[in-house]
C-alpha cells in the first residue's frame, strides 16, 4: 500500500499490515509516534482522530497505545500503535493537535493509569468516583477480590428463599 511505503521511508516502522481495503495498521516507536501523527494529519489528509485506546500486554510488561485516524477524502482508516513500559507509564498528550484527545486521554489515565504529560484535565474523575485501588482496566485488577473487600459477602436475598420454599412445597404436593 502506498501510504505504508511512504511512512517506512520517513519513520521507524516496527510493524505494518494492510488489514482491509479501508484499514491499515502501523506500529512505531515511542519517539516517532507524535511526528508520525502530525505528518499524517498535515500531509496525508488523515484529518480526523477517531479514538485513542489502550491495550494491556501484561506478559510483556507493556501498554500499547492505539491511535485511530480517518482520512475523509480517501475513506481510509489507519491504526497507529506504540508500546510504552507498564511500570510508571507516561506519554505526551496530543490534545493540542486534536481537542477530543483530551477526553480520551482522561479516560485512559483513569482506567489504565497512563500519565499524559501536559493534559490539563487528566486528573479529574471522568467515570469512577473516589477510586482507591489500582486502575480497573489493568489485567491484574481482580474484580471479585475488590468487591469482596469493599462490600463483603452478600446475604442471599429473601426472594430467593421464598421461591425455594414454593418449589419445595410444589414438590411435596406432586409426591402426594
Amino acid at each position: 500500500m502506498e501510504i505504508l511505503d511512504k511512512l517506512k521511508e520517513k519513520f521507524e516502522i516496527l510493524q505494518s499490515q494492510e488489514k482491509r481495503e479501508d484499514l491499515a495498521l502501523v506500529g512505531t516507536t515511542e519517539k516517532d509516534l507524535i511526528p508520525l501523527l502530525v505528518y499524517l494529519k498535515e500531509y496525508e489528509g488523515y484529518k480526523t482522530l477517531v479514538m485513542i485506546s489502550c491495550v494491556d500486554w501484561i506478559e510483556e510488561g507493556k501498554f500499547e497505545l492505539v491511535y485511530n485516524l480517518w482520512n475523509p477524502s480517501k475513506k481510509h482508516n489507519i491504526l497507529v500503535k506504540t508500546k510504552i513500559p507498564r511500570e510508571a507509564p507516561k506519554f505526551q498528550t496530543i490534545y493540542k493537535i486534536w481537542p477530543q484527545a483530551e477526553a480520551y486521554e482522561r479516560e485512559i489515565h483513569e482506567m489504565f493509569g497512563v500519565d499524559f504529560e501536559g493534559n490539563p484535565t487528566q486528573h479529574e474523575e471522568l467515570i469512577l468516583e473516589d477510586w482507591d485501588d489500582i486502575p480497573p482496566m489493568r489485567r491484574d485488577f481482580d474484580t471479585l477480590k475488590y468487591s469482596m473487600e469493599k462490600f463483603g459477602e452478600r446475604e442471599p436475598k429473601s426472594g430467593i428463599i421464598i421461591r425455594k420454599q414454593i418449589s419445595e412445597q410444589y414438590d411435596e404436593w406432586r409426591r402426594k
Binding site: 495498521l25 492505539v66 477530543q100 480520551y104 469512577l128 480497573p136
Partner: protein, 367 residues
C-alpha cells in the same frame, strides 16, 4: 467564577437531559459562560466484563451498551468477530441483518422526532413517537422474542430465519408510518415556536467537524457527506440504492431536517431490502462456540448508528476470551468535547434542545 455568576447542575435527574448524565454550567443572567459534562452515573464496566467472558457470552452484554438502539452493537461485535476468525456469512444473513439495522434506525429516529419536540415543551409528538415506535417493537418481538434487547445477530449470521409473512407485515407497517408522518410534520415542522427556537441554535463552525471527529447527522447537517453506509459499505448496503442526505445550515434546524429525511430514507431502504432479499441459508457453520479459540489479531469495524459512527476495536490474543474490546460511540465526542464548547454563550433554556439535537447517549460514553 465571579460574584455575578451562578453555578448550576442540569441533570442527572432532569426531564430535558438525554439519559443519566449531567451538565454543570456557570450562568451570567440567562447566558451560559462555562459548561462541563459529568458522566459516570451509568458505568457498568462492559469492556472489563467482556475480557472475562468467552465471546459468545458477550452478546447479551454488547446490546446493553446503547439502550434505544442495540442492534448496531450486536452487528459490530459479530462482524469484528467474523473478521478475526475468518468466517464468511451467508448472503441471506447479510440482508436480514441490514433489515434489522434499518428497522432499528427507523424506530430510533421516530422516537427522536418526538423527543426534539418534547425538549421544547411540545408534549403531544412525544407520545405519538413512542406509540408509533411500539409498532416496530412489535415486529422485533415477533422476529427475535425481545422488544428492546434482541440478541438476534450472532457470529455467522442471525439466530433465526424470518417468520412466515413477516415481509408483508413490515411493508404494511411502512405504509402506516408513512401516512402518519405528515401529521408529525404539521405539528413540528410548521410550528412557529419550533422554527424560531431551532433556526440558528447550536451553530457549529464547519472546521470543527474534521478536527473533532464529528460524525453522523450532526456532520451531515454541516454539509459533510459522511455516512459509513456509503463510505465503508458493510452487510448488504453496497447493493442498495441511496444518496447521502446533507443539509447546509450547521444548526439544530438543519439537524432536524437531516433526521426527518433519514426517516424517509429508512422506509425506502426497508422496502428495497424486502424486494431484493435472496433465499437461502441464514447461519454459517461454526465451531463449538463454547470452546472457540480466535486466532491472534486485531481489527476496527464500524457502522452507522443514528447518532453517528459506531466503532469496535477488538484485539484477540489467541485465547477464547478477547484481550481488549474498545467500544467507541459517537456520543463520546458529541457529549463531552462538542457539547462543552457548544453550550458557551447559549441561553439556559436551550440546553435541552441542544443535547437532544446532538443525540447524546450516556451509556455509550461510559460502557
Amino acid at each position: 467564577m465571579s460574584k455575578e455568576e451562578v453555578r448550576l447542575f442540569i441533570g442527572p435527574q432532569h426531564p430535558g437531559v438525554t439519559g443519566n448524565m449531567s451538565v454543570e454550567v456557570l450562568l451570567k443572567g440567562d447566558t451560559i459562560t462555562w459548561a462541563k459534562t459529568h458522566i459516570g452515573y451509568l458505568h457498568r464496566g462492559f469492556e472489563k466484563l467482556m475480557e472475562r467472558r468467552i465471546y459468545i457470552k458477550s452478546f447479551p452484554l454488547v446490546c446493553r451498551i446503547c439502550v434505544p438502539e442495540p442492534d448496531t452493537n450486536e452487528e459490530n461485535f459479530a462482524r469484528g468477530l467474523e473478521e478475526l476468525a475468518g468466517i464468511e456469512i451467508p448472503e441471506r444473513a447479510k440482508w436480514i441483518r441490514t433489515l434489522v439495522l434499518e428497522l432499528s434506525r427507523l424506530q430510533m429516529f421516530i422516537m427522536w422526532y418526538g423527543g426534539i419536540a418534547g425538549s421544547m415543551g411540545l408534549s403531544t409528538p412525544v407520545q405519538w413517537g413512542i406509540g408509533d415506535r411500539d409498532y416496530i417493537l412489535d415486529l422485533f418481538e415477533e422476529l427475535t422474542g425481545g422488544r428492546i434487547y434482541h440478541i438476534y445477530i450472532m457470529p455467522g449470521g442471525v439466530r433465526k430465519d424470518l417468520p412466515e409473512g413477516f415481509e408483508e407485515r413490515v411493508l404494511k407497517l411502512m405504509d402506516i408510518i408513512e401516512q402518519r408522518l405528515p401529521e408529525y410534520d404539521e405539528i413540528i415542522m410548521e410550528n412557529a415556536v419550533v422554527q424560531k427556537r431551532l433556526k440558528g441554535l447550536a451553530k457549529i463552525p464547519r472546521d470543527w467537524v474534521d478536527e473533532m471527529g464529528i460524525t453522523g447527522p450532526v456532520a451531515r447537517a454541516c454539509g459533510f457527506p459522511y455516512d459509513v453506509r456509503k463510505d465503508h459499505p458493510y452487510e448488504a448496503y453496497p447493493y442498495l440504492d441511496f444518496d447521502v442526505i446533507t443539509e447546509d445550515g450547521c444548526d439544530a434546524w438543519a439537524m432536524l431536517l437531516v433526521r426527518r429525511r433519514e426517516i424517509d430514507l429508512s422506509i425506502n431502504l426497508i422496502r428495497q431490502i424486502i424486494e431484493k432479499m435472496p433465499k437461502g441459508e441464514f447461519l454459517a457453520r461454526l465451531p463449538n462456540v463454547l470452546y472457540w479459540k480466535i486466532p491472534p489479531g486485531e481489527t476496527y469495524v464500524k457502522s452507522e448508528a443514528t447518532r453517528g459512527e459506531f466503532g469496535y476495536y477488538m484485539v484477540s490474543d489467541g485465547s477464547d476470551k478477547p484481550r481488549r474490546v474498545h467500544v467507541n460511540g459517537p456520543s463520546f465526542v458529541h457529549g463531552i468535547t462538542l457539547l462543552e464548547r457548544l453550550l458557551v454563550g447559549q441561553n439556559i433554556a436551550d440546553v435541552a434542545p441542544i443535547m437532544v439535537s446532538l443525540q447524546t447517549c450516556p451509556p455509550e460514553m461510559e460502557r
